[in-house]
């Protein structure tokens, strides 16, 4: 929980020595509370004060890193219950689970599918983030062997799932040092799990089937043993109980600043699901509601794509819609005789139009206006996509130098702007195109 300036002031030397560059300790405290200066700027602060202040400054949900290099992802560090309050920051990592009892061919094809899967949306590449490997055989050697085989196929980080410490130890020897997630410490095995997690430099899942008290006691013990990168499995698998539990955990962390449960959550949507659809529904819930790592039991591109799209939607900053740079974009090597269309810089708008222009095969120009990342109708309603904006963009980016015909096509939804735009762009003919991007190829054929 953030401390107020006055609370911070009480921990400072109160000597007003000015060594920090501010006239009084209170002024420095106020700047600290606003996070505009660092505590280390005060040369006289006591160790006790440093500890108290840094504890207060720690995020209510710990940031946990998984994987290495290009495959590193981080989860946790969230600050709000609802995305409209600010934004959700760290997208949950998606993993596909394989079991060491599956035959080698099945495992290999699953791992390859996930490793190679990459789908683009609004200019962003999306994919799964990890492979979970479960020691279903109960045999340490089999487990380690599977981990070794999978590691040879991918650099993705692993979630290693086993009941026995010796199996995990064997598997970690083959894991390759990619900051894995180790599953799971319980009341029975936490001491040996703590030792393993420290050795492996990974994060450790803490599991309890017996309520938040037991979970909190376990995280305290593990923290005491020096393991701080923890992930919670609160035990529930059914949709209803899970929803309540993840909501309560998030509230405890954010509203009560309850440190023992201020960690990211891991979820297993396939475990209570008797069908692929039931798993999709649970995964949807966990993406929207508070999971940090989601371990799936099925992989199908037709499901992965919608789920990854949902993750992108939910984790888009409501204050900053995803947008593209304003300018003139070229499709299929346009000439001065090719049509020129205009739309806004909202990325979904851009990519919908660009997809049709590109796919339609017709050479064309696309003028993108700065409409503050809003779609055509929203921007028009907000006064961010009007004749003046369009005319300004046309002039700034030299639309007149690109085409000889001096015709520009408006989105059908803003046909009403034609008259004004004619006034703003003297000598240009203003055409009205279709309302939906999907109708653009047909429109261009008749252009």
């Amino acid at each position: 929980m953030a401390m107020s300036g006055l609370q911070i002031y009480k921990l400072l030397p109160k000597t007003n020595c000015k060594d920090c560059g501010f006239p009084t300790c209170l002024a420095f405290a106020m700047k600290l509370a606003a996070k505009q200066v660092e505590l280390s700027d005060c040369p006289h602060v006591s160790d006790e004060a440093t500890e108290a202040l840094s504890a207060a400054a720690a995020p209510p949900i710990r940031l946990v890193k998984v994987g290495t290099g290009d495959h590193e992802f981080q989860v946790g560090n969230e600050t709000v219950m609802y995305r409209h309050e600010k934004t959700f920051f760290n997208q949950p990592g998606l993993a596909l689970r394989v079991k060491d009892t599956e035959d080698a061919g099945t495992i290999a094809s699953k791992v390859e599918m996930v490793n190679d899967y990459c789908v683009e949306r609004v200019g962003i590449d999306m994919g799964f983030n990890a492979i979970a490997i479960e020691n279903a055989s109960g045999d340490a050697g089999t487990f380690a062997g599977t981990v070794e085989v999978v590691r040879a196929k991918t650099d993705l980080p692993f979630v290693l799932i086993a009941d026995q410490a010796d199996a995990l130890e064997a598997a970690l020897g083959k894991e390759g040092g990619h900051q894995p997630v180790i599953y799971a410490a319980t009341t029975d095995n936490w001491e040996s799990m703590a030792a393993i997690a420290k050795e492996a430099k990974g994060s450790l899942v803490v599991r309890s089937q017996d309520g938040f008290e037991e979970l909190a006691e376990l995280t305290d013990k593990l923290k005491g043993a020096g393991v701080e990168n923890l992930v919670l499995d609160p035990g529930s698998r059914d949709l209803a109980t899970s929803l309540s539990q993840v909501t309560q955990l998030r509230r405890l962390a954010l509203k009560k600043n309850f440190r023992p449960l201020g960690y990211p959550i891991i979820a297993f949507p396939g475990e209570a699901a008797d069908s692929a659809e039931a798993e999709i529904v649970a995964a949807t819930q966990y993406i929207a509601k508070y999971a940090g790592i989601i371990v799936m039991d099925r992989f199908d591109p037709a499901v992965a794509y919608p789920l990854l799209t949902l993750r992108l939607n939910i984790y888009t900053d409501p204050q900053k819609p995803i947008s593209v740079d304003p300018g003139i974009y070229e499709f299929n090597s346009p000439t001065p005789d090719s049509p020129m269309l205009v739309t806004t810089n909202f990325s979904l708008t851009y990519f919908s139009v660009a997809g049709e222009l590109d796919g339609g095969g017709m050479p064309s120009w696309l003028l993108i206006c700065d409409a503050e990342g809003m779609s055509v109708l929203t921007a028009w309603a907000a006064g961010k996509f009007d004749a003046e904006t369009i005319a300004k963009a046309a002039k700034t980016f030299g639309a007149g130098d690109k085409v000889a015909h001096k015709k520009i096509t408006l989105p059908g939804h803003v046909a009403v702007l034609s008259g004004e735009l004619e006034e703003e762009l003297p000598g240009w003919e203003i055409l009205v195109g279709p309302r939906e991007a999907v109708d653009i190829p047909a429109y261009l054929k008749a252009w």
Partner: protein, 322 residues
């Protein structure tokens, strides 16, 4: 070392209004049963701190004419039932609909505009084919909507239909029709808390009680503005539970119409291989959109594909299993 964890609970003061669709013979209509939505005293399915006396319900969309523009995935799934509106309504009831949502097309296959008489006749046919309460939605052009919905309101007098879309442009006509013939309205606003409130105020000013108003926050499908709808619904629901009387209406989401309009649920050729099988993808698109909105406060989900209908029903039951 014993730790005590006290679960933080929200102390909401507001309650969502209960709204009942349909009227039985005793109540001046002909419906075999009525459907009540609303009544929540907490956010969706958080039973540890409040109640959800009526589970969210499923409306199945039907139309007054063969939907040749629909995704082939839907056309294949429904088959010949789509040829006749009454048959379609019966099939929807068999598939487990709580409500029938008649989405009136603005024109027939030859481009002739739908007339008020035709719309009224279609509604009569649907009333005859099913005992479920009905939502009737116009084609979304304010003038045509007025013409069709007024005719419908009169033809189905006393049935407690929900008439939509009732927007700021045409609310006077639609609300007058609802007042005169004992119906409800679907108050629709473009993903905005204040516009939604304002419309409810305007409707109230015309003396239509809020017990006869459903709220349509405007649905954005997955990948096409879902996050805006999701957040505006959370904000509306939080405002309602905090006590803002003009936001306490049950919410209806036209999920099927929006999810099946998108390229992802329509196109099987010329799309990236990573998109996977069109049928599975289209159905998942609808299921994911519906589930996300269910969790942000939807009371009525209007769906299209038979498989998503059964999955969403199962989901509601899973979430209700306390």
């Amino acid at each position: 070392m014993a730790v005590t964890v006290e679960i933080p609970k929200e102390r909401w003061t507001g309650t969502i209004r209960e709204v009942t669709l349909g009227a039985t013979a005793d109540e001046g209509g002909t419906r075999a049963k009525t459907v009540t939505v609303g009544g929540e005293t907490t956010l969706p399915f958080l039973y540890f701190e409040g109640e959800m006396p009526h589970l969210p319900v499923i409306g199945i969309e039907i139309q007054n004419g063969y939907p040749a523009d629909w995704s082939s995935v839907l056309l294949d799934a429904w088959g010949d039932a789509l040829q006749d509106t009454a048959t379609w309504a019966k099939k929807a009831e068999e598939l487990g609909a709580d409500l029938i949502v008649l989405n009136l097309r603005g024109a027939d296959a030859d481009g002739n505009p739908t007339t008020g008489e035709q719309a009224a006749a279609t509604v009569k046919a649907v009333l005859g084919a099913t005992g479920l309460p009905i939502v009737v939605k116009g084609p979304g052009q304010a003038e045509l909507d007025n013409k069709l919905l007024v005719a419908v309101a009169e033809a189905a007098s006393g049935e407690r239909l929900a008439l939509g879309l009732c927007e700021d442009k045409n609310y006077r006509t639609i609300v007058a029709g609802a007042l005169a013939h004992g119906h409800l309205v679907v108050a629709s606003s473009p993903i905005d808390v204040n516009l939604a409130k304002q419309l409810n105020i305007l409707i109230t000013d015309m003396r239509l009680p809020l017990e006869r108003v459903l709220m349509d926050p405007t649905t954005g499908a997955l990948g096409y503005g879902l996050e805006y709808t999701y957040s505006v619904m959370e904000r509306l629901r939080i405002a309602a539970l905090t006590g803002d009387g003009m936001t306490q209406q049950p919410m209806i989401c036209f999920v099927g119409e929006e999810s099946w309009r998108q390229k992802e649920s329509r196109t099987s050729e010329g799309v990236p291989e990573e998109w996977g099988d069109i049928e599975k993808r289209g159905i998942t698109w609808e299921i994911v959109t519906a589930t996300a909105l269910l969790e942000s406060g939807a009371d009525i989900l209007v769906l299209r594909h038979p498989e998503s209908i059964s999955v969403v029903r199962e989901t509601i039951n899973r979430l209700a299993a306390q």
